[in-house]
């Protein structure tokens, strides 16, 4: 691990009472203690994941020994999960629904945010507050009416039922609007003066400058959709259409005491998101930190 300490700020001046050198020494010691504590906690935080991996690599019979040491490491549990469950179908279902969700959300939210940021129209403030009200409504209180809605049009057990209710995300509109408001108006006004339509300005001037916000919204929507349990659990009862969380939740009982198999399926279920995390770490962190969520 390449952790080095921040060099103490250089400064020639001397403080009243305590010398600069004493302060530096104190700060250095303090930083060292900080690092030690932090590493200890970080390792503690990784233990559950490491333990799951460790268990997944054991034969089922050996999981009853609560030791880290694996006598006969095997990929058997992973192989069985891939063969005996519908996990490959769940991957496909999760990927399709999460990707559709992310694409639709980015498109619809950015279009709406563009109108709210750049166009003048009557009731603009009313529309803005109307959209903002959506942030207040907890999605969970909508499950019953949404379920009846989809039941009555016969869309249960389809991906539409999973995707559509998750598309209109008030927070996404808010994030895009914040970002657009921060872009200099001269840019798109110049294009307008040159005769470009709003649609053209949105597509060729605004959106290309919006990559960071777009990435953040897309990744968050994708991850959220991928992980969503309650709603897909209600609308997807056909095992062939289940998403990963629904599949894992339903299959859990059937593994019984085969802990290695259970852990292998958990790890396989988490794998794509670990990849997303490693690939998009920066965007995820900036997305949380920089897109208006900070308050």
């Amino acid at each position: 691990m390449a952790t080095t300490l921040e060099a103490p700020a250089e400064s020639g001046r001397r403080g009243g009472g305590v010398t600069r050198a004493q302060v530096d020494a104190r700060t250095k010691l303090f930083n060292r203690i900080c690092l030690g504590v932090l590493i200890a906690f970080a390792i503690l935080w990784l233990v559950p994941l490491a333990w799951a991996l460790d268990t997944g690599l054991k034969p089922n019979a050996e999981t009853t020994k609560a030791t880290w040491w694996i006598d006969n490491p095997t990929f058997g549990a992973f192989r069985r999960t891939l063969q005996d469950t519908d996990i490959l179908r769940w991957y496909a279902a999760s990927f399709i629904t999460a990707a559709l969700n992310a694409i639709f959300t980015v498109i619809t939210a950015s279009l709406a945010a563009y109108a709210l940021s750049r166009l003048n129209f009557r009731f603009k403030n009313w529309v803005f507050w109307f959209v903002l009200a959506g942030i207040m409504i907890p999605g969970q209180v909508l499950i019953v009416p949404q379920f009846r809605e989809f039941n009555s049009v016969g869309l249960l057990n389809t991906f539409w039922a999973v995707v559509l209710p998750q598309v209109p995300t008030a927070v996404a509109v808010f994030i895009f609007k914040q970002f657009f408001d921060g872009l200099p108006r001269d840019l798109d006004e110049a294009a307008r003066v040159d005769g470009a339509s709003f649609w053209r300005v949105y597509r060729t001037v605004i959106m290309p400058l919006t990559r960071p916000a777009m990435a953040a919204v897309a990744i968050f929507t994708f991850v959220q959709a991928w992980n969503n349990l309650l709603w897909p659990l209600l609308v997807l009862t056909n095992p062939k259409l289940m998403t990963i969380p629904v599949g894992l939740a339903t299959v859990q009982g059937s593994f019984g005491i085969r802990y290695a198999d259970t852990m292998a399926s958990a790890i396989l279920g988490a794998l794509p998101l670990v990849a997303v995390f490693l690939l998009f770490q920066k965007h995820i962190v900036q997305g949380i930190a920089g897109t208006g969520l900070k308050g």
């Binding site: 691990m1 104190r26 970080a42 609560a66 499950i143 598309v167 995820i284």
Partner: protein, 312 residues
Amino acid sequence: MSTQTHAPATTGRAAPSRRTHALNDHGRPAAAFLAPFVILYVLFIIGPAIYGLVMSFFNTSLVKPGLSSWAGLGNYSEALQSKDFWSSLWHTVWFTILTTPPLIVLGFVFALLADRVARGRWFFRLAFFAPFILPSAVISLIWIWIYTPGLGILETALGKIGIGSPNWLGDIHWAMPSLAITTVWWTLGFNFILYLAGLQDINPELYEASAIDGAGPWQQIRSITIPLLARTTTLVAVLQVIASLKVFDQMYIMTAGGPNFSTRSVLEYVYDEGFTNFRVGYASAVSMLFFVVVLAVSAVWFAIVRTQEKEA
């Protein structure tokens, strides 16, 4: 629906400005840009919200079409008199009390420590933040295994240092704290990142100036860092409280509300009443009561933010 913003640009009163309104009013394009979002929003968020409100006044059943008979405030008074409703509300509040303080304090402390480390931040982000993006189903499976009596790593580890373990998920008194421990481990990363971002906004010159004046690290944290992070803390706190009140997944998979309903949250109660007992009218009333609680929390937040902004 509010897509009708393309109403002809006429002003009610005798036109106050000479400039043609048409030049400045983008009603038609605005309607086109807003339409995709607003239509989905009305169909799947606002519509169901109103429908839910309506249903809460009827004896609606999941297995019969239509709203069924009028119940008036019957569902509400039943919920308010139901022991199950109040106990599920209490469990939800108890869970919120157990999770919120550690999630705020640890998020702050870990961010503070990580902020002093110049390199290797990716490692801490990985350790603290990665669990946050994993599906609740995965988290639950892993922690059920960790808590398993006799075999789980927690019992083994505590046994090695001579501490006996309760039956984590099986004991009425321990089930909720166990769920809280899992949740703290799982979701801490989000607060960690919010605090880390807040810390990076603090001007380093403030620290340098105070160091020149002889302030040690503790003093700096007390008199610079904590006050300047007040707004971040308010945000973290309210997001955390709302998230904790909405708990469902962990409980549904790890304990299914048990043992003996000791971990049944409000949303699990809604789920049980609506989808197991088919009483969706009643479940809607419970949802609405829960919505009022969340609204109250949000209102308190707005009030606090307002005062903070006035002070700033």
